[in-house]
Amino acid sequence: MTLLLFDLVLIATLLTLAVAALTSVEPRRAVMLFIAFGLWLALVWARLGAPDVALAEAAIGAGLGGALMLAAARRAARRRQRTGGEG
Amino acid sequence: MNASLPLAVCLPLLGALATTLAPARARALGLIAALASSGVVLWLVVGVWEQGPLRASLGGWSAPLGIALAADGAVAALLAMTAMVALAISIHAGGYFRDPERLRQFWPLWLLLWAALNALFLAADLFNIYVGLELLGLSGAALAALGGGRAALTASLRYLLVGLLGSMTYLLGVALIYAAHGQLDLALLGTRLGPGLVDATALALLSLGLALKAALFPLHFWLPPTHANAPAPVSAALSALVGKVAAWLLLMLWLGPFAAVTQPAAATLLGLLGACGVIWGSWRALRAERLKLLAAHSTVAQIGYLFLFVPLIQGLDPGPERTALLGALLLMALTHGFAKAAFFLAAGQVQQLAGHDRIDALGGTAQRLPATTFTLGLAGVALIGLPPSGSFIGKWLLLEAAIDQGQWWWILPVLAGTLLAAAYVFRVLARAFNQEPTPLHFVTQVRAELPGLVLALLAVAGLGLAAGGLWGLLEPVEIDR
């Protein structure tokens, strides 16, 4: 029962994060939500008995992927500020 | 166990490593690798010719646990075509890239692309195809961007993204198959798949992913800008080989392991998309203002032809009739591979000499490059499907089957496509006749012009007249993996 509740919270939040990341117009917001999504995903996979994958996702999501995307997001945000248009 | 199968993947890979490690000697190392890879493919083709279909398990594990490579006659033929086209492109690239830096960047990526092509043709495992597709997509996109301009970057980026979307869709299909059957090996899956919602949905997803990569109408939108803006040798590879491998995988899935899943209606739908691709691609090619854009649109049409075969083959039981159609399909694919590669290589020559490739302003350039113009003409003949090119025989068999099976409506796209193709090809060739002075020599730059010419000759004369041998390769067994 606790586990089911646990699962439900995990999934609900995961989906919320995904929706939020996908619907964010502001690039940095989207990227940070995406990073959060990655962390959460690692959590979910850890729960699903896939620690190998969770390790990988954590290392990538929090490390390289996040940094790469943040750099891009910063550029996009600056461009948005300059042009006022969409990134 | 035949070592030529894994080697066909490993040798280009080794070449890629060598050219990465020693960029200063990239050209020499790359050519050696290209020759070695072609040699291995030759070995493989001889093996298939003598022993029938080959299968090599990897890592000492047989399916379902391990991954296998498989080569039947069709795959052998496609690999041979790939090797020949790739060899030609390899030689041509040395003359095309004037900037040594570009050439250094070209080689390792190009050999990786080649490895991916071989890996995909040989693949006998659903997930392995996914990895191969990604290798293909990434190296392809990087190569397509070697041109460096804004348009090339934009197009390559779109190509990359579309490729990613395609492989993700494909992977979703793989996941569904794994959910339902717990298998990934195609041969084993072939015995388990059957009609039903799950398998059909999975096939639809797999097909969608592959169709995106193969640029099957209406998922072709990304192809023309990518192929038109890439450096010519890259366009040649993308058009002749990369699209071909995705289309081939799609056809192979439909006609092979998933044959039990497919219904006539679905096959007709695929054929219909092919027909639309033929008409639309040909029409856009006719309207194109640039030579490479024309060639790119024509690729959409040529891919379409391959799918016209699906509704005709789908209902057939194994037998000579089916083999004949498969042979025809293969012949079309091979001819187009040779012809389109030749066309792009020639177009690249024209573009380099003229500084542009606007068709309306080509006249003088074409006159100054007789061999290149001749290549364009020969390749054009093969694209139209005029005799004695291989695609003529392919079309003949296609038409024969369409009439024979009472599905006469497939005649219309074939004929319309042929006429449109004639129109767009001769629209280019007509520009080649004017009163410019003529160079003394037929071939002006051997390294850059000859590979394309040889490919075009292969498409027109070689495949047309020596096509009989292809059936020898196909004879032993059907596609059955």
Binding site: D52, A56, L64 | L21, G59, L65, A119, A179
Partner: protein, 221 residues
């Protein structure tokens, strides 16, 4: 894309989602015994490693992994071919520098640990390599323009190390008449470890270089 089109796409996507859910439920209901898992566990002793995922990645389906490393190489070569890297970061302040001085060695250590652990428990070359890559990211963020990577030729060597080790082992066993990548049972564990070690370095270097995002300093104009 305008409003109605968006809505249409959304509706289509929703329909697709529904269909897929239904299909998934059907597939799971009629699911056969996952023979593959049992086979994977049963063959585990032959591979010399204790972690089934590592066994799949480096033994049963090692060929996939070989191609995957090639994908990584392709991405890196593509990035290199696109031109020089983005400007480096400003030199870090003392607080960040202090953190980096602790975190980077720990990342290296943990990377090595994951590589080692991968043989028996969860972990492996990719996770270890990702940590090494992350160390590169941290270094670059702290101001090192090269993300701690060595010079060009060494970088190239590192980039091809993974595929190279794979091919070396694979082709060597092939030359002895076995399948590609069919390790002799006695050697299996150590060969896998060797390949994984090379792959870890390669992945780490490649990811770090990818983060740098341009051709190495020695190269080109």
């Amino acid at each position: 894309m305008n409003g109605p089109a968006r809505l249409l796409v959304a509706l289509l996507a929703a329909a697709l989602g529904g269909l897929l859910l239904w299909v998934l439920a059907t597939a799971l209901a009629a699911r056969p015994e996952p023979a593959l898992a049992e086979a994977a566990f049963a063959a585990l002793p032959l591979t010399g490693v204790g972690n089934p995922v590592t066994a799949v990645l480096l033994d049963y389906r090692a060929y996939d992994t070989l191609l995957e490393l090639a994908v990584l190489l392709a991405a890196l070569l593509g990035i290199w071919s696109l031109g020089p890297p983005a400007p480096a970061y400003q030199r870090a302040g003392s607080a960040l520098r202090a953190m980096v001085a602790w975190v980077v060695p720990l990342l290296i250590l943990t990377g090595g640990y994951l590589l080692w652990a991968g043989g028996q428990v969860p972990g492996g070359a990719f996770q270890g390599g990702a940590l090494l890559g992350a160390a590169g990211v941290v270094l670059r963020l702290a101001g090192d323009p090269r993300a701690g990577l060595p010079g060009e030729s060494l970088q190239r060597l590192l980039a091809v190390l993974g595929v190279g080790a794979f091919l070396l082992v694979g082709l060597t066993v092939l030359a002895f008449g076995r399948d590609l990548l069919d390790y002799p049972t006695d050697w299996s564990k150590w060969l896998i470890l060797a390949i994984e070690g090379a792959a870890t370095l390669a992945i780490g270097a490649t990811l770090a270089a990818a983060y740098v995002g341009g051709r190495p300093p020695g190269e080109g104009r």
